[in-house]
């Protein structure tokens, strides 16, 4: 069983037809997506067709990461290059668990393209930031740089001022060790993810501009969610813009505030919600009264949804393409347990078909 209208089990084509009707009727549909690159591509194409606004399910974290790229730019390196070259690694703030394997693999290796014999590890942390995972701390012998009562933006500010030779009033633990290591390093890399605030990322990249005047340094950006970053890439080539983008006027409009789906729902601007996630048992948030279409990995209908469709997962049920921060680019993900569950792209294709107009090629 893969499709339900309300709580009633229906054949997939019936569900598709019903969703197409809802989409066609909607004045302001909004999409929350979480799929592989092909799934996202197909849904962005669908969003264009029906004038919808789209974002990732974890749009809030993503918006900060996108803002770093759209507003500031910076220095970036791939994880593969970092593995082979970085002789100093500075972890900035909190790194999500999904990336701990990568960090551990870096801790277990030495840079083979560097004159340095090994890597030295530091970590910049602020008040309230979680402690570093024990195994990594032990293996990498990470030196913590910070101050117990200062938030991370203040810590980064003090570090940047110190690197630039400008006065600061406060000292950080082990700042001299870090400054010394950076001064001697051939290719230091700052690893960061899941920003607490965009200002800290601006501060970090400003620091890299300062350092690169005289020596080399870069940053390893680990997206808080690799799949979300894959969606950013696809959205950007398809529309010219990262999410949050909407098609309500026909053309894509990129506006992180206007096209913030949570805001649109809270302000009662949206009148239809398409929620898509390939993650096990992920469920759309409850939005009182807003008709919701759920494309989820579940064998039960989502209570309160107008339509629920059960979908397969890329790399499990079917082949897919995902962004991988391990290699810093897209990667083919082969199905490990092929099944008949429909892919997001297949459903989006069916919906395009149902919304048919002959002269419009599907994506």
């Amino acid at each position: 069983m893969v499709a339900w209208i309300g709580s009633r089990t229906v054949p997939l084509p019936a569900a598709i037809e019903h969703v197409a009707k809802l989409l066609a009727k909607s004045r302001c549909p909004v999409f929350s997506l979480d799929s592989d690159v092909h799934g996202c591509r197909s849904l962005i194409a669908l969003a264009e067709r029906v004038g919808a606004t789209y974002d990732h399910v974890n749009g809030r974290d993503l918006a900060h990461e996108v803002a770093l790229h759209t507003d500031i730019g910076g220095f970036f390196a791939t994880a593969t290059e970092v593995r082979r070259r970085a002789d100093v690694i500075v972890i900035v703030g909190d790194i999500p668990a999904a990336h701990h394997d990568l960090l551990l693999s870096l801790a277990a290796t030495k840079p083979d393209l560097s004159r340095a014999a090994g890597r030295r590890w530091f970590r910049i942390n602020g008040k309230g930031g979680p402690a570093l995972e024990g195994e990594l701390r032990r293996r990498a012998k990470v030196v913590e740089v910070g101050a117990p009562d200062l938030p991370i933006d203040a810590v980064l500010g003090i570090l940047r001022a110190s690197l630039g030779g400008r006065r600061t009033p406060a000292a950080l633990t082990d700042i001299d060790a870090l400054l010394g290591a950076l001064g001697k390093a051939s290719f230091p890399v700052f690893v960061f993810s899941r920003p607490t605030d965009p200002a800290s990322l601006a501060m970090l990249q400003g620091m890299l501009i300062d350092i690169n005047r005289k020596q080399r340094a870069s940053a390893l950006f680990l997206p808080s969610d690799d799949d979300a970053w894959g969606m950013v890439l696809a959205s950007t080539w398809m529309t010219g813009f990262p999410p949050r983008t909407g098609f309500s006027t026909g053309s894509p409009v990129y506006d992180p505030w206007l096209c913030d789906i949570d805001r649109m729902i809270a302000a009662k601007e949206a009148d239809l919600y398409l929620w898509v996630s390939e993650r096990d048992e992920a469920r759309p948030p409850r939005r009182g009264g807003l008709p919701t279409i759920a494309l989820v990995r579940s064998d039960r209908p989502f209570s309160g949804a107008a339509v629920t469709v059960r979908i397969g997962k890329a790399g499990l049920d079917h082949d897919g393409v995902v962004y991988s921060s391990r290699i810093g680019t897209l990667r083919a993900a082969t199905a490990t347990a092929p099944s008949d569950l429909p892919s997001v792209a297949a459903i989006a294709g069916e919906l395009q078909h149902a919304l048919q107009s002959e002269d419009m090629a599907s994506c």
């Binding site: 203040a154 501060m203 992180p256 601007e269």
Partner: protein, 270 residues
Amino acid sequence: MKPLTFMLRSEPEERLDLSGLTPDKLAGMPVAEIAGLKIGLSRRPATVGDVFKITGTDASNIVFAGGSGRFDLVGAEMGTGRIRVEGDVGARPGRRMAGGTLVIEGKAGLQAGSGMKNGRIEINGDAGEGIGGPMAGEIHGMTGGLIIVRGKAGHRPGERMRRGIIALLKGCGDYAGLGMIAGTIVATGRVGRYPGHLMKRGSLLFDRRPADLSLTFMDCGRVDIAFPALFDRYLMEEKILDRPLLGAKPYRFGGDNAVLGKGEIMFPKG
């Protein structure tokens, strides 16, 4: 001539882009044509006539009788004349405004005066985040003009501001003057944490010592300089304040030393 007046029929069902309804753009336009302009932002957009009843003829003096938090981009890119909103507005009123006067009697949403170049915006109610700030991808916020907020202001007023003056008369949220390049922000009342964070140059002039000053701002002590009197006089002449803000010998902090350290925060003694 009577002001060209847009009377709101009822709360709009969608966000509206009102950037087309400015003195410059409506000069000489027949009412029927104005009524046909599309302003809605949903798939089935409303026209001016759907949302407003239009009276008056003087397009150099526009009045919105009744406002809404869904009125976006009121007065955007206006270069001359006057717009008054008898109510609230939504996002980015006065976006890229180049001249004239925009008066909002109620509240304003996000980024009032975003990228403003010149002219004057007065907001009698509260204003949202990012006053004068840049839109996504832009590297500069406001580059000139004057914004006065008589209510409370949100976070990040004057973000990446390059020139101009923002006066906040009931304080503001966090990060006033975030990444400021130059210009002046005046605030009376409470300001949130880390004013001047990442600021390169520019002046933050407050009526009191900020409660949560970033550590990379350095105490320069009390300063005996001519500028405060000059600026206080300007504030009073422009009727922004009715008494001096800084007075003689204010305190001065220099920063943000994390970046360039050439900005300042000043506030009066006591």
